[in-house]
Symmetry: C2
Subunit: 232 residues, 2 copies
């Protein structure tokens, strides 16, 4: 699995910074099933799938939207590889519950089907979606997510500018508030960072440190190339 | 009602920028019932009530936490004035539903009991809490809120810095995504701004413009001293 904080970084194209990693992850794959349900900016499933398709032109791999399959359970079970794009996490999770495909997704991820998540698509691999930054524009039946990793992700993690005059809660404050109710560790993953998960290791990639928040413990800066699972 | 974006602005104390407005709102009031359920930073109801109490020392009005009343329904119904502080909107709404005090709050607001909301406390006066910036750290039974005003509020409204390299969704993008699912107008209320609601008018106060988002319409800059209800 590759769980990325964002689909792009400032000044570079869609998925571009991930190209070398994606080449490895999707080696030998001849079709990727794309899950477009997070609908960034409210775009249609078709339009979002086209964007994903363009993102994989560099590997010449066809991308098919999950919504276009008649039997979506089977489409997931049979998929050579899966990509879940970012957008609104509430909308994504609501749609996955409505279509009843959570257990299929869990199973194929567990069995090793290559999986790429960006932003909301990474968020849903954690134990819950409760550290999303998104607005609750729809109400999913549950906040529980795939639990493919034993922690939560906070995508697009950011610290306030040094001279910020904004009084709204910082990301760190919000995550600490989460820990008043839950013991799940939370990894703040900066844009340009991703987790490369293989077997029992989750290696942090990219050039920036990530920040690991654990209940009742000091936050921990995680260096690139370290195995986050060893720090939980 | 005073619905404020934030309890303080940069460089000034708790509620300080609102002092003149609060003096008018709470004229003749000898006790304020404070609702501390949003628990910023996860502080206790008692600790939060103490902060609110200090905030009203300038008017010499005692502040009593709603949690300290045996009969909280009666406490709201009998309150001379109500203040709902900020924090996590999900936690606040969850607690209000669990205690079953939504209808009492709606009634006393409707009947003219002076009400101060800051941040989450303003958010809950809208039709839904679905334009909150907070993390979904608990799951309330519903996202529906008091509906004392015919719109939603986005507190701590902010636009990205001009040189921002962050790729996460802007506040405007998030609100536009809300409008893919809902027709409720949303007022982006900057820190230092508040709505003064009396009778059928909702006048924008403070020195900054607010931004009104309406489904399928261009966003509208609202000038201080204008009546927002006339723009819906």
């Amino acid at each position: 699995m590759i769980l990325a904080s964002s689909s792009s970084v400032y000044g570079s194209g869609y998925l571009a910074y991930l190209h070398p990693a994606l080449k490895t992850l999707f080696e030998g794959v001849t079709e990727i099933v794309f899950i477009p349900f997070a609908r960034p900016n409210g775009i249609s499933h078709d339009a979002y799938t086209e964007i994903a398709q363009r993102g994989f032109e560099f590997l010449d791999i066809p991308v098919v939207g999950l919504h276009s399959f008649e039997n979506q359970h089977k489409a997931i079970a049979d998929a050579q590889a899966i990509f879940v794009g970012g957008g609104n996490t509430f909308v994504l999770v609501d749609e996955l519950y409505k279509r009843g495909v959570f257990s299929e997704l869990q199973e194929v991820i567990e069995s090793g089907t290559p999986y790429l998540g960006t932003s909301a698509g990474s968020n849903i691999c954690g134990l819950s979606m409760q550290t999303t930054n998104d607005m609750p524009i729809v109400k999913p039946i549950s906040f529980k997510t795939l639990g493919s990793i034993p922690m939560n992700i906070n995508a697009h993690y950011i610290e306030p500018e040094k001279d910020s005059k904004h009084k709204g809660e910082t990301r760190e404050t919000r995550i600490n508030e989460f820990h008043n109710f839950h013991a799940t560790p939370v990894l703040g993953l900066r844009e340009g960072s991703w987790l490369e998960i293989k077997g029992s290791a989750a290696v942090l990639r990219g050039v920036l440190p990530a920040v690991l928040f654990r209940k009742n413990l000091e936050k921990l800066a995680c260096m690139p190339n370290s195995d986050i699972f060893l720090l939980l």
